[in-house]
Symmetry: C4
Subunit: 311 residues, 4 copies
């Protein structure tokens, strides 16, 4: 029994995950909720700032800039704008003079038509300018991190298919690199997960790694069709479409590769639920025109397939 | 004999480590003191600045800023503030005028209501502004390094347990990812270390790698209970609680994983001493509510267990 | 049949790639065209800015600087230069005053002889100075990324050769590290690709990994000659120069290494087409002078060979 | 014969390296000279700036700063300081006024007591301030790269020893981590290189990997003594001190590890020449005081050994 346990292949989800909803969302996140996380862990600031889309990111930066300036403007007003040289010529209210002075200090542009006078005003300005440097440093780090974070742009075919393959059938899906920068040493692991009813009637989720016709390529210039041949030793052998649906089956995919531009590891998760598998279908070749001259791949054909009888 | 030696599994501590105190501290540092380190090696500036908490870090930066400004202020005073245009209008003493001028130079805010006059003053200011750029550059690097340093937020159960496992017993502990950013390819190595008395009466520390029910998972969305089954070939076979305590046993854990957000390797060390192992206890499931709809994990339940009879 | 498929060694090109032009260009890019890429994917900004040569890169930065300043200059002119203190003394037109003011704001140099007056002008300037910081931050990140990107400077011999090797013949090429920074754990994979005519007359591309006399070295201080011995089990056994040319043969090379200066993985692709293979030629040693005192390698000799009879 | 070749273990030096001087210098660089490198490859700017000591590095930066300012100063003088507002009050010559103005522009401190007047002067200043940003960005990148570059501070014992080991003898050396930041998964490869005289009288260098009692540790908190047992299958079996000297033997060491602070790979090369091996010596333990309370390692003892008779 101990030995058997050793062969479990649940990829880390655990047999308890007897949920009927999908385990892995389309965006690669897990369909799991954590409660009672610590405050900072739930906040998780840095990773969020790195992974959020550009618009909200720039929005946050602008907001922070406005808040900081307002905050310091109020302080300067409190100290008194009579301690600010040139405030009389700005043709704007005391608050806005302070606001713009703050902006000029924070960004270290420091025109000087506004300048601090007296100890208090000068100290606050000196402090703010230091904050300016640090926040700037921060922005630099964040922008760099956002850019340099390796994100593979791999598109998966909308559906997986059951297709005749050689003298048997095969479960297939295919992927393509949407970007021009190359991925090398691309490696793929597919796990087949489904609910099984134990003799005692209780249901639990089982997992098995699907053996792929090939699970690693050194280069990935074209599209790549991944094939699991339904041989007698396949966990899907003799499995019908109905059984697949009944068992809440889900195909979990983990992709590992190396981005050639930055020589960094990249990872991608994806999954196909049983209702995203087409039975008796064959992907159309994605090559376009005469491949003799130059191989041309049409990304729009990724999801195209023809219905065919199975073996 | 040479062959035997080849099979040593001390993870790198060496048999000499016959200390009665724990080998590995809770924070993952080693309970080892190095003496006669070189000055710079003991100082170890950069790693310290990177790993120290945020408050002291910012404190150091602020301190450096104050020191630098004071230093240059004194120089400017020495040169004479009559070489500083506008010093007469600042309404503060010569020193503070110089101090604020230094601050405005170091941060390159350079309002200009204070400006250098004459060769000496101008050269020093020119030099300081260059230092300003460099220190700023430094701050940028440090901030970025602090943020981008991958630190896994994995919580270990407070105690390990001896629990019935299948038809035998097992030594178990469990972990959970406190953060939302995913870890993948999580791999764990556990080494069982204890003092043994040789026939000649001398005591020395022995180590053995504990075979785990599974030592690697591709995904880590939920909690993970690691199990070492006490099979006849286990070094802990027939070991009683008393023997465990007498032998100063310690369980050393090395965790390797890949942070999915930054695609970086992360490492974690942890250890359980014999007095942190509960005999005849079983971890409570961490799942919360109805798992059929969505898997919900309650982090507060990580340390919860029930006492149970052993096989 | 399924088993056979499992042994395919096409490195990821796929058997469909029945093109007569080379698969891998000299610069390591693939001879594949993708159509219908998404806009951003085709643009692929960041990797481009990182990989483009220095001159165009600096050109783009300068262009961006000019465009931004012109853009803001027009806005300032619109707002009216009478809202800009000092504009009357610049001795240039309103546009150029605005242009230079914009430049001084964007770079945060902010002399102050030009300064904003009134709410509108001040706000725009405050906004531009923030943009200045961000763009600066961006430039920092880009420059750093460009520099720190590990690019191996390995030169491949212009041609590969068929040379006598021990008691048989061998297919050989050689490489040298042009730079002084060391590469370690250099690993090479060579795949032999050619068109074969199936019994049914259809032609398809076949691939086989070439077994190398050695495919990995820990150090790489000198030149390295890679040798595939034409033993009976070699896919090139009994292959004549004519057959090689007829089959559109191409030798695809993938090099993996670790740059010792930055401890980063580096990768390189290269290929030799059949017409770049010299039959019956032997590389000249690259050592120079008396190697007893110090090993001296002459990079100019990399491509030199002598014609020799084959075994 | 082809098979034999396959077993060569020269780590990448090649058998041609029949030099009598050491292959690997103490600093880990190779004793190899490359001639006819391309200009940029010989210059190899970036890696140099990263790896050079701090003092020269800062020297170069300061020099660049001076040169740039002088260069622009001359241009400004050429344009005429009458186009520079405030130049009349600086109390220094036209050149120095321009020099300091350049400095204030390059560092973007821009006090403004000096400011450009007229189109030409303004454009040049605008251009210089852009250069300022870029050079600053560059400095940031360089400083960060210098700091974050992982450099293991591992000290090797000055000499290797031949010591009795269990029931045979062993060749040993030992290492210690000088820093406090941990290295994990430390892996070591030792290659034994010596000149051998072929039957035909010609001498060539041979290499063999030395099997180590253990070549990898997960943790490295203490010192680590690496042992190659002289068993009958060892290439050093029956080798006497004289033979070792005659054969110009050298022990080449490659260390791989992972720096735990930054989770980065680190590498180190080292070598012992035959004249750095002491016959019949045993390293003294490095532990200090009572190890029962806490393990204390004394770095000064690294090189200490006692002479002992061999088995």
């Amino acid at each position: 029994m101990v030995e058997q346990e050793g062969n479990r292949q649940d990829l880390g989800f655990g047999t308890r995950a007897d949920t009927t909803s999908r385990l892995l969302n389309k965006d690669g996140s897990f369909n799991v909720r954590h409660i009672n996380q610590g405050f900072w862990n739930r906040l998780n600031i840095y990773p969020r700032l790195i992974t959020m889309p550009w618009l909200p990111f720039l929005g946050w930066i602008f907001a922070a800039y406005m808040v900081a300036n307002t905050f310091f403007a109020l302080i300067y007003v409190g100290v008194g704008v009579d301690n600010m040289m040139g405030a009389e010529n700005t043709q704007v209210s005391a608050f806005w003079s302070s606001f713009f002075f703050s902006a000029q200090t924070l960004t270290t542009v420091g025109y000087g038509h506004l300048a601090p006078r007296g100890f208090l005003m000068s100290s606050i300005a000196a402090f703010e300018s230091m904050l300016g440097l640090l926040s700037f440093a921060l922005a630099t780090g964040l922008l760099y991190a956002r850019f340099s974070r390796p994100t593979p742009h791999i598109r998966f075919s909308k559906v997986a298919v059951f297709a005749p393959y050689l003298d048997v059938n095969g479960w297939m899906f295919r992927i393509i690199n949407e970007r021009s920068n190359q991925l090398i040493d691309v490696e793929i692991e597919v796990s087949y997960s489904r609910m099984v009813t134990k003799p005692d009637g209780s249901r639990s989720r089982q997992y098995s790694i699907l053996k792929l016709e090939r699970n690693k390529v050194a280069f990935f210039p074209n599209n790549w069709t991944l094939v699991h041949a339904i041989t007698p030793d396949s966990p899907m052998h003799d499995c019908t479409e109905e059984q697949l649906m009944d068992s809440d089956a889900e195909f979990l995919i983990l992709l590992r590769a190396i981005d050639d531009t930055f020589s960094q590891m990249v990872h991608l998760r994806y999954s196909y639920r049983c209702d995203e598998v087409v039975w008796g279908a064959k992907f159309r070749p994605m090559f376009n025109g005469d491949t003799r001259t130059m191989v041309t791949v049409d990304l729009n054909k990724l999801d195209e397939y023809d219905l065919v009888p199975l073996n």
